[in-house]
């Protein structure tokens, strides 16, 4: 029972990070109809920038802020320099370009930093506090929950309540009409990429201390898990991404806790296939939204 509680908390903590990462995927999908396969690599790049700043200044928090800023800038840059010029007539084209970005970013990181694992420091203790003799939350878990909670509710508030959020939604759903009504559709798209990439960088900062550390490929498996989370929720639904993230986090935690951590990639694949075969649009997708 203790073990179950521990695994559940651990799963929720990981799941919160997957949820943020999946949310970033959903943001770009809704705005531009592109699944950003380069998101993991972009997030690692931001984390490396943070590592450089942290080791130079000795301040974790300065690195943390720099990572998010670097993520925002990188997202805007990728949209302006690359994605804007891709022919979106076939859904394959942006995917292939994103994969080119993955190779390019990982190779550049490997050239600059080398391909050994570097330790990613955590700002709080990762040893669990005990409540009534049962090991439950670590301070770091609390930090993760709080940060993700602030980000998710902040995004929800921005989209639902602010004029910028309204413009972004309008630009994503009816670009032509919004353009006629004076919305800067291209700018909204860039903003969407920047926000998504910033959230991705934040998620990388939160997840890397719990993994092996910094490495150009450190986010490959995290990306696959987050993609699964986004698909479980249906790529179009932000609440679905959050729920999907938590589900995937719990599943991975139970599988690695009870069956061994080597099996977690297989569990992700099985979940992904199962969801897609039963409901190809994801669990939260509206029924009529399927396109041919």
């Amino acid at each position: 029972m203790d073990r179950f509680v521990f695994l559940t908390v651990d799963g929720l903590s990981r799941g919160a990070v997957y949820a943020a990462f999946a949310l970033a995927l959903v943001l770009i999908w809704r705005a531009a109809r592109v699944v950003n396969f380069a998101q993991g690599a972009m997030a690692v790049a931001a984390a490396y920038v943070a590592y450089t700043v942290s080791t130079a200044t000795g301040s974790y928090w300065l690195g943390f802020v720099v990572a998010i800023v670097a993520g925002l800038l990188l997202g805007a840059l990728v949209d302006r320099v690359v994605m804007r010029h891709v022919d979106h007539a076939s859904p394959l084209n942006p995917v292939i370009v994103a994969l080119g970005l993955v190779l390019l970013i990982q190779a550049v990181l490997g050239m600059v930093y080398g391909s050994e694992f570097r330790p990613a420091e955590a700002p709080f203790s990762r040893s669990a506090l005990t409540v009534g003799g049962v090991a439950v939350l670590s301070p770091y878990d609390l930090f993760v929950f709080a940060t993700i909670g602030v980000v998710v509710s902040g995004l929800a508030w921005m989209f639902a309540r602010t004029p910028v959020g309204l413009r972004m939604r309008a630009a994503a759903f009816a670009p032509e009409v919004s353009r006629l009504l004076g919305v800067n559709v291209g700018g909204m798209l860039t903003l969407g990429w920047a926000l998504a990439s910033g959230v991705g960088a934040l998620a990388a900062m939160l997840v890397l201390p719990t993994e092996l550390g910094l490495h150009p490929h450190a986010m490959d498996l995290v990306f696959v898990s987050a993609f699964t989370a986004a698909v479980v929720g249906g790529l179009d639904s932000p609440p679905g991404a959050v729920v999907g993230g938590l589900v995937v986090g719990l599943l991975l935690s139970y599988v690695s806790g009870y069956a061994g951590s080597d099996l977690t990639p297989l569990a992700v694949l099985v979940l992904l296939l199962a969801v897609l075969l039963v409901r190809p649009g994801g669990l939260f997708a509206p029924v009529a939204a399927r396109r041919v």
């Binding site: 999908w29 592109v34 699944v35 396969f37 690359v82 010029h85 891709v86 022919d87 076939s90 859904p91 394959l92 084209n93 995917v95 292939i96 370009v97 994969l99 080119g100 970005l101 993955v102 190779l103 390019l104 970013i105 990982q106 190779a107 550049v108 490997g110 050239m111 080398g114 391909s115 490929h217 490959d220 498996l221 696959v224 993609f227 699964t228 698909v231 790529l235 061994g260 080597d262 099996l263 990639p265 297989l266 992700v268 694949l269 992904l272 296939l273 897609l276 075969l277 190809p280 041919v292």
Partner: protein
């Protein structure tokens, strides 16, 4: 497979909309392809005597990659399905050939028929895996399909570590291969023999693929790619066509992986990482989607680019640590950058550029004569 005769008049061909009519040459497609393959085989034998052993080994590697890229071209270029998991399918073939060859060697069996048997087993096992993934893939579109195949690419190498009793974890397995037959003489270079074996297997696979592309099945592949609804209205079973395309390309990927394992005489999960899958996709896109010649350019690039960057880093005087970092990553960076530029500027790839150039030259010639 009625690969011999195209019953469709040239006007209705789907493969080059608005371009030159492809079917100008009369006669049997099979015979024409056989002639090309024979000529290529003779050329390969001649080249294998002309160049040094290391180049022979490189050419053999090109042939092994060509097997996989040709299959991926059929899948992605002709059927419009994106697969990021072909590295994993290659791993399936490679591990099968390793297990078979080890089993044969353990039982003390020898003979020229063992390697073809192992390669056949590799194809069969990859077809099985490809059918499973293909059935799932036939229901999925665009990014969903890419995501699932991406997961396959990540998972399959991880399986080798999980079941390390069979697959020996990160170290991988060795692939015992017999020396060239004694009838070729005692001093026959091993690399030349490797080129012959991989070249023969790849040419056979290419012959089958080329005929498949020209057959009824090839036309249904393209019809499904171009317009699924129209294809369904025309009586094509879309899902079945997609599964068939996936299985065919899986079989060639498995053969390619098996050939690579035979060449390296070892197989490990590190050799079949996600990066290899991305490399394969890159290769077919840069080579030119939808044409087997594009797959050839891609396979050549896959072998030549690391070699070129190696000689480049050799000429620069760098500290060993920096040189090592550059050598592993520079080809990746160049590949990634080329891919982005090609997708944005020249979606036809190398082969698209070449045929545009060729057409421009052809178009100019009659005016000069008149």
């Amino acid at each position: 497979m009625s690969a011999t005769r195209a019953a469709v008049p040239p006007r209705h061909r789907l493969d080059h909309p608005g371009g030159r009519p492809v079917d100008r040459r009369r006669g049997s497609t099979l015979l024409r392809h056989l002639a090309v393959v024979l000529a290529a085989g003779l050329l390969l034998v001649a080249v294998s005597y002309a160049v040094e052993p290391f180049r022979n080994f490189q050419l053999a590697t090109v042939a092994a990659y060509l097997c996989a890229t040709a299959g991926l071209t059929v899948l992605t270029g002709l059927n419009g399905q994106l697969s990021l998991g072909h590295g994993a399918l290659m791993a399936t073939g490679a591990y099968t050939v390793a297990l078979c060859q080890t089993a044969f060697a353990d039982r003390g069996m020898t003979g020229g028929w063992l390697l073809p048997l192992s390669l056949g087993a590799a194809i069969v096992s990859t077809v099985a895996v490809g059918a499973v993934v293909g059935v799932a893939a036939a229901r999925l579109r665009g990014p969903y399909l890419a995501g699932v195949t991406l997961a396959v690419a990540v998972v399959v190498p991880a399986l080798a570590v999980t079941f390390d009793g069979v697959f020996n974890g990160e170290q991988g397995l060795s692939v015992p291969v017999e020396p060239p037959p004694l009838s070729l003489g005692p001093y026959f270079p091993y690399e030349r023999w490797q080129l012959w074996v991989t070249g023969a297997a790849t040419l056979l696979a290419l012959l089958l693929l080329a005929n498949l592309i020209r057959s009824r099945y090839g036309r249904t592949f393209r019809a499904v790619r171009d317009d699924e609804v129209a294809a369904r209205l025309a009586g094509i079973h879309v899902a079945r066509t997609q599964v068939l395309a996936f299985v065919v390309s899986a079989a060639t990927a498995g053969l390619g992986g098996a050939l690579l394992a035979v060449l390296a005489q070892s197989v490990s999960p590190g050799a079949f990482s996600l990066t290899l899958s991305l490399f394969l996709l890159m290769a077919v896109v840069i080579g030119g989607l939808g044409r087997l010649t594009g797959a050839l350019w891609g396979a050549v690039l896959l072998v030549a680019l690391p070699d070129l960057t190696h000689s480049l880093t050799d000429t620069l005087t760098l500290s060993p640590a920096v040189a090592q970092r550059l050598e592993g990553n520079l080809p990746l960076a160049i590949f990634g950058l080329t891919l982005i530029v090609v997708m944005i500027a020249a979606p036809g790839g190398v082969q698209g550029l070449l045929s545009r150039l060729g057409r421009a030259l052809l178009a100019r010639r009659p005016t000069r004569r008149s």
